[in-house]
Symmetry: C2
């Protein structure tokens, strides 16, 4: 059997999330090129011959946010024949979590605009990006419950209340403070850094940091 003469291109798209203003937000770019001029989409592009899709996703992430060392992984490959009107392009979608602080979004010539959007108030997206975002959100909600990935949404030192808010925003329901702290404490994912928050008009909170700032599965001992 001979190899069929394929005419298929491989792209990478990246769903990049952060927590900002007490809501879960996603980074969208506004497109220039036809037929999606003015449309919003998640950032992406064709992969180069010598890079892996993860390399490519990292490149997108760094180009847009300037960040490295955050959580980033493959999501799923989207390959419907009609997903790109310009021809057969399959997209190996990735997703990432970035901390809010210190981020300065970078505009490139490629796009008309770049900004964060509340995931509950998204515009209609280009291509099949609605679907990609939907799957990424589902993965986030699921994976936050059995891994330590929240580390990638928080500063190195944070309070227990900040941590709880991240869970509440992503999972969409309020949690009991005492029960939350008990559970977190049992998981042994974080440790106190021995400092307290300052400057707020209330009792200072103890600061914690993650033991590992990379993917780790929670052992339910």
């Amino acid at each position: 059997m001979t190899t069929p003469n394929q005419n298929i291109k491989v792209a990478v798209d990246a769903a990049i999330f952060t927590i900002k203003n007490d809501s879960l937000q996603i980074l969208l770019i506004q497109m220039k090129k036809n037929p999606f001029t003015e449309s919003w989409a998640i950032p992406g592009g064709m992969i180069q011959n010598d890079e892996t899709t993860l390399d490519s996703a990292l490149r997108i992430l760094t180009t847009q946010t300037g960040l490295r060392g955050v959580f980033l992984e493959q999501l799923k490959t989207f390959d419907d024949q009609t997903r790109d009107p310009a021809g057969r392009v399959i997209s190996v979608a990735h997703w990432a979590l970035v901390p809010d602080h210190d981020i300065q979004l970078k505009t490139t010539e490629k796009y008309a605009d770049v900004r964060w959007w509340n995931v509950n108030k998204l515009p209609k997206l280009a291509y099949d990006h609605d679907l990609i975002v939907k799957e990424a959100l589902a993965r986030l909600k699921s994976k936050i419950q059995y891994t330590n990935i929240v580390w990638s949404l928080l500063p190195v030192e944070f309070t227990l209340t900040q941590l709880q808010h991240v869970y509440e925003i992503i999972l969409g329901n309020a949690m009991d403070k005492r029960n939350f702290r008990k559970r977190i404490s049992d998981l042994k994912l974080i440790r106190p850094v021995g400092k307290k928050s300052t400057g707020a008009a209330h009792r200072p909170a103890e600061l914690f940091s993650f033991r590992q700032r990379k993917l780790d599965y929670v052992e339910i001992v």
Copy 2:
């Protein structure tokens, strides 16, 4: 920005599992083509311009096993630059579960041989297929615990003991009969068909069938 001139091919590989002789087995083919002559691998091939990767995986599954209507889904895309010595080929790996009964493996000209292998006694595989199989196994172990996918490993009518054995073989640990039955009963995934098994030298067992023979997430009410 212009589209780079890509020289990347898209393949699909399929990890196909069954339960046979009280063990978890995977379908491997023996290759003919260089440099993997005689090596074993999971079945796969290039996708065609007009088919999705899922179509392609379905084609592979049907070609090898003659089956349709079983559980099949995308696993992950493998795209290391060096995974195929013949050039840059990314593989959108899929995985499937098939029932043991009624399967007659089909040999094609493409391969030297096809047979089932116990997943605990695998030979060294071609390409990065060791890695693909490892990921597929992890997904199976995980997904069997919060979905109804076992339906795809069993005949339409089965006994509770058969069902329990499938879980025990995949998860690798013995389970308590009474607790298992309580749990299964609570999940409401199966229903009695009103018949009993016959022919064995012991008390006949009640037969059950799945309410749905397609992917369903278990609601832990």
